[in-house]
């Protein structure tokens, strides 16, 4: 699956089932795929002009979810670690920005490296003890950590307690004050593109393969000389960084954050995005994120039944189509 020029040609490329799944029937050459991607990007680029403010906000949210889903996809889809507390990393990024800008007057761009480092530390703190656990325990422990982070944010003064932090300044970039809906839309669009590129490169790398080896057969992977603790920790840390950067931009977008945004429900929404679209496949994960955000909009009439529909959908997918809703393709 070559997305950029200079990649090895078809013979030397890996032959896992193509992430494009059933669409490989339509998009059977790399050229066609590039065209498809460019077309999508063009549409995305003019969307705010065409669709107006309300839709722009929703699409921005969908892009945020896409970024976070890509991060969680690394943890769950590649490394096979069921993280039920992913919102914790989202919170780390958001609160890092919130605290540093409002309490200490930092420039937003300076807070980003801090958010990244904080996320990496959180990834190690949460990942470290959980890595050796069997998958059921790991899921519950990550859930526990997620709750610990949320409750701590709710209790401490520096995080604004239950009302959170507000009045976060929106950033300037070379004379461009990023304030409006469409400003943030383009920022998130750019972030999403970067997130996809990073994910693709990681997936096709030594580390990406190592995640799959460890996920498919841990002991055989160890026998091949792969340190599974280190590999899993890398997944957590990288996933955490995705979450944290998403959270950082989320904070300046909304200019206010509160513990409600970092609950277990939030974590499950991220997880649903990853699974609905097809765990482990990048286009699928992005689709899943859009479904999770746009779905409730379309189902608005159903009121509180919306999330029930999603939950039932998730259950049906697990029972009948565990590969997700992305059309399943054969092998190339």
């Amino acid at each position: 699956m070559a997305l950029e020029p200079g990649s090895p040609g078809p013979q030397a490329v890996e032959a896992r089932p193509s992430a494009w799944g059933g669409l490989t029937v339509l998009l059977d050459t790399p050229a066609k795929r590039v065209v498809a991607i460019v077309a999508i990007l063009l549409v995305m680029a003019v969307a705010p002009q065409i669709f107006g403010a309300y839709i722009t906000v929703i699409l921005t949210n969908a892009l945020l979810y896409a970024i976070l889903a890509l991060g969680l996809n690394i943890v769950v889809g590649y490394a096979g670690l069921l993280d039920l507390g992913y919102a914790a990393f989202f919170a780390v990024g958001a609160y890092s920005v919130g605290i540093l800008t409002t309490e200490f007057g930092w420039n937003f761009w300076a807070t980003l490296p801090v958010a990244v480092v904080a996320a990496a530390v959180a990834g190690v703190v949460i990942g470290g003890p959980t890595l050796r656990l069997r998958s059921d325990y790991l899921a519950i422990v990550t859930l526990g950590f997620g709750e610990i982070v949320r409750i701590t944010a709710r209790n401490l003064q520096i995080t604004g307690a239950a009302s959170g932090i507000s009045g976060i300044d929106q950033p300037w970039l070379y004379g461009w004050h990023i304030v409006s809906q469409s400003d943030f839309y383009y920022v998130f669009l750019a972030l999403a593109v970067v997130a996809v590129l990073v994910s693709v490169r990681l997936a096709n790398s030594r580390l990406g393969r190592a995640w799959l080896y460890v996920r498919h057969d841990e002991d055989a992977a160890e026998a091949m000389g792969i340190d599974r603790v280190r590999v899993k920790l890398a997944a957590y840390v990288i996933g955490a960084i995705y979450g944290s950067i998403g959270g950082a931009f989320f904070a300046v977008n909304l200019t206010a954050i509160s513990p409600q945004s970092f609950s277990f429900q939030q974590s499950t929404l991220f997880l649903m995005a990853v699974i609905l679209g097809g765990m482990g496949k990048i286009p699928g994960v992005i689709l899943g994120a859009f479904v999770v955000v746009l779905g409730p909009e379309f189902l608005r009439d159903l009121g509180s039944f919306r999330y029930l529909v999603f939950a039932v959908g998730l259950l049906l997918i697990m029972l009948f189509r565990p590969g997700g809703i992305w059309p399943a393709g054969g092998r190339r």
Binding site: P129, V141, M318
Partner: protein
């Protein structure tokens, strides 16, 4: 209030709380024993049990009153109804996933949990319902400690249920079959045990116990809402792990230990009630990291 009185009061509170945890933990541990699955939806079964009890009491309250008899019947009927719900869930959601990778079953369990939660959310619009049986505030005094009748009844019912379960597991055929399946499922099948039946019975029993706990919690604390299963689910899981997952006496012990820990933990300076849950989660994480087999569990050596 002297220190001794305070501690004694906390002891009572801890035991009450622990009984809830124990009842729900039993469901976790039994199901884990026979199908090696952590039923993530178990906490929500407890929640459904509370609502079932509420509905029953509303229906029969006119006839039998909403005092002890009414509540007792509500508990019983809720147990039966939700017991069957547990079996239905197992048949629909878990049985088809037996040979699937671990990750898939866990996510399925999560999905079931979300379905239960959101079903009740949709039906109730997220409202909190007041569960107000007329059980009065009378009680007995032991020294300076006041134990009200509700607490006594709770402890007694919980104890009876646990004794009942213990007898069931150790004396009846089903109970023996359950233990056999949890030790070696394939071998049990070869020995002629109807494994599917046993699993169904296990889910029934576990769900019924959770339903009893849910109804009692509703009556005791006075309110129920769709999200009440989340926290109790996690705490009951913690209890099951403390006692040793897969061990029935372990779940009982773990429940009591956790209840007491929480109760006494909140009397420590610095840990106010808003940190209570963080305290429990920390306990969970510490236990899983340092002693995953719990107090009564057995060490598992992986054979290659």
């Amino acid at each position: 209030m002297t220190l001794v009185t305070l501690l004694a009061q906390q002891l009572v509170n801890g035991l009450v709380l622990g009984s809830f945890y124990a009842l729900v933990a039993l469901g976790y541990t039994m199901v884990f024993g026979v199908v090696k699955l952590l039923n993530f939806a178990h906490g929500d079964v407890y929640m459904v049990g509370a609502f079932a009890g509420f509905v029953v009491l509303s229906l029969i309250g006119g006839m039998v009153g909403t005092s002890w008899l009414g509540v007792g019947l509500s508990i019983l009927l809720s147990m039966i109804a939700v017991g069957f719900l547990g079996v239905v869930i197992e048949r629909i959601a878990y049985a088809p996933m037996l040979r699937a990778p671990r990750l898939s079953i866990l996510i399925t369990a999560l999905a079931v949990s979300l379905v239960l939660q959101n079903s009740v959310l949709s039906l109730t619009q997220g409202q909190v319902f007041a569960f107000s049986p007329k059980l009065g505030f009378a009680g007995i005094n032991i020294g300076a400690v006041f134990i009200n009748y509700k607490q006594v009844a709770l402890a007694v019912v919980a104890a009876l249920l646990m004794i009942g379960l213990e007898l069931f597991v150790s004396r009846t055929q089903y109970g023996r079959a359950m233990r056999a399946v949890s030790v070696d499922r394939d071998m049990s099948e070869l020995m002629g045990i109807d494994v599917n039946r046993v699993i169904a019975v296990t889910f029934f029993a576990g769900s019924a116990l959770a339903a009893a706990a849910g109804t009692m919690a509703g009556a005791y604390y006075g309110s129920i809402w769709y999200f009440m299963g989340f926290l109790i689910g996690l705490k009951a899981f913690t209890a099951a792990v403390i006692g040793g997952i897969g061990s029935i006496p372990g779940a009982m012990l773990g429940g009591l230990v956790l209840g007491l820990l929480e109760s006494f933990g909140t009397t420590l300076p610095g840990i106010g009630s808003e940190w209570k849950d963080v305290f429990s989660f920390t306990v969970l994480i510490l236990v899983l990291v340092f002693k995953p087999t719990g107090l009564l569990g057995k060490s598992e050596q992986e054979r290659m």
